[in-house]
Amino acid sequence: MNKNENNKKISQMLLMLSVAIPVISVLAFAPIVSVKATATGTTVTRIFSTINPDAESTFLVTLNITGLEVGGIVETIPDGFKYVGTDYLSNRTSVSGNKVAFAIVNTTHINYTVKAMYGTGDFSGIWEDYLSENSGEVEGMTHVSVRGEMTQTPSIENVTTPPTLTSIPTPTPKISGFEVIFVSVALFTLYLIFQRRRMRGDKG
């Protein structure tokens, strides 16, 4: 094996590692959220005050919580419905788009109000127990139909993929900006090397 072949092999190895390490690193530290089936006796059950609200009316959603001493609940409200408010502590509630998050510490029930706008939809939700490390889906009532609005077509800007019965909130990957920048720089450098090698090859 001559010196050039050796150099070529070393270069190939370095390149492979340079690509593999950042990929593995990013994958390994991306947040993994799994909703585990639970047999711990923890239940969060959803009850609607009505399953056929009138359009433009509000209705109550109650979450009954059993066996969840310290945890979190995230509810996903379907299109055609809008979160209005809650009687739960405001500093333990956060809303963004169609998702509502509740921080749970020694709470047995939460009421929140939703405005019915059009169509039908399925509510979904998850809970996480930070003491037992279990998690699960909110059980109970899911489906709501706005009275007299079954055939109404939503406006174009409101068309989204309807949630499935078992939809799980998608976690937001928590990769810091620095990591993305560094990995991007590394990949770009690789690209430059390839280009340079190609140019040298062309010259040779």
């Binding site: 270069s11 530290f29 947040p31 979190g72 995230v74 510490v105 003491l131 720089v185």
Partner: protein, 413 residues
């Protein structure tokens, strides 16, 4: 040139790739607080602080917001701290000790506490031990290569700090002035280090110490199991001993570590003699271990002499019976003791201090009770108790039928 260029690239990419690791490590000092999830620095994770942390996590993870928050494993730890901490005990030196978060890194000076922690399956929290633990390679083989923090008589503070401990465990009543000095020095060097003072060798305080250790180490169930076993042995002896009238209790001279050094009423061996159904002829002496005149021993004329000649005589690391038989011969050949009943009647016994001087005092009590009251304790099997303890609680593969020298003359001889 090309190789250098590629090498630099490799280093750059490797370093940048490890950034997530660095980020994860920094989570341990989230917001610069000592107790995870404590936002106001009072070392307690209140309900509102925990709720704040949960909401930050949920909004970042599920609602797509950008914020500084605890990762899931740290949030779980904060929830655990909120639910189960602080934990407070009064240690064996009478000090109020409050633990604000799970102890993960503990330096233990006294081997008795190391042994008790092993019974509680809690040695994974130990990061440094005293020199006597390290030297005892037969009983503590797993600590041979641990950082050596010295002894309470000669502590190595630099090594203690190198261990970066959450807590340091020290004797409570053994050499109290030395332990007090260590406690003060540690407080001066790093006030965040929690000092807990435990003896783990005295019958009077052992049960409470096991329970306290179980509590602060979150090993309550293991502590209950150990206490059940320990008290099961001692209570079975106590029930019978309590029924013995005073005149039925033999007068015993206990000689500890040196000629005519005996056990005063504050010593552990005094408590062991009483528990075994004997009277200590020097129970009128205050303090721990004190020297007495040979004439006083003769004058008090004990029915039994029990000796624990030195820390290194007998034990688990030897099969040489002469380590105990030679001290026995030395005692029985002392001219001044020739007319003492114990010597005249052949009631001189030598015990291994290594084996019976610390936590295993309950085994020593069983051996002595059987010796002092052979008929009353006909069914008591000290060796079986000893063996069960070694296997079940210490996890040691040690066969007492094959190895070790613990009592002379041996039972049955």
């Amino acid at each position: 040139m090309k190789k250098t260029y590629l090498f630099c690239l490799f280093v750059t990419v490797t370093v940048t790739s490890s950034l997530p690791l660095l980020q994860t490590a920094s989570q341990g000092e989230y917001m610069g607080v000592v107790v995870l999830g404590d936002l106001d620095g009072d070392k307690i994770v209140s309900e509102s602080e925990l709720a704040d942390n949960i909401l930050l996590y949920l909004t970042a993870t599920y609602l797509g917001e950008s914020n500084e928050h605890l990762k899931l494993d740290k949030l779980r730890e904060a929830a655990h701290i909120h639910r189960y901490y602080p934990r407070a005990i009064i240690d064996s030196a009478g000090r109020n000790v409050t633990i604000y978060k799970p102890l993960k890194r503990i330096v233990v000076f006294n081997s008795e506490t190391v042994e008790t922690m092993r019974s509680l399956n809690a040695t994974d929290k130990i990061v440094g031990v005293g020199e006597y633990t390290i030297k005892d390679k037969i009983f503590f083989p797993e600590f041979t290569n641990y950082p050596n923090v010295g002894s309470v008589w000669s502590p190595n503070y630099e090594e203690v700090l190198n261990c970066n401990p959450d807590a340091v465990f020290l004797y409570a009543t053994c050499s109290p002035s030395y332990c007090e000095a260590i406690q003060n020095k540690l407080n001066e060097l790093d006030s965040d280090i929690i000092v807990v003072r435990l003896d783990c060798f005295k019958p009077a305080s052992y049960t409470k110490e096991v329970e306290d250790l179980g509590y602060i180490l979150e090993k309550e169930e293991e502590a209950r199991t150990l206490v059940d076993f320990y008290e099961g042995v001692l209570n079975s002896i106590k029930e019978k001993v309590d029924a013995i009238p005073d005149e039925g209790r033999p007068e015993v001279y206990f000689e500890a570590y040196d000629r005519y050094k005996t056990a005063g009423r504050e010593s552990g061996w005094h408590q062991k003699l009483i528990a075994a159904g004997a009277n200590n002829i020097f129970s009128d002496l205050s303090g721990g271990y004190v020297y007495v005149d040979a004439e006083e021993v003769v004058k008090r004329n004990p029915e039994f002499i029990v000796s624990a000649p030195s820390y290194y005589a007998g034990g688990y690391d030897t099969d040489d019976i002469t380590e105990l038989s030679n001290p026995w011969k030395e005692i029985v050949s002392r001219p001044e003791l020739a007319k003492v009943n114990a010597v005249k009647n052949g009631n001189v016994y030598v015990l291994s201090s290594d084996a019976f001087g610390g936590v295993r005092h309950f085994v020593a009590i069983a051996y002595m009770a059987k010796r002092f009251h052979p008929r009353l304790f006909e069914d008591l099997d000290p060796k079986a108790i000893h063996q069960e303890y070694l296997i079940r609680f210490q996890g040691l593969d040690y066969d007492l039928d094959k190895h070790g020298v613990f009592v002379y003359p041996p039972f049955g001889s």
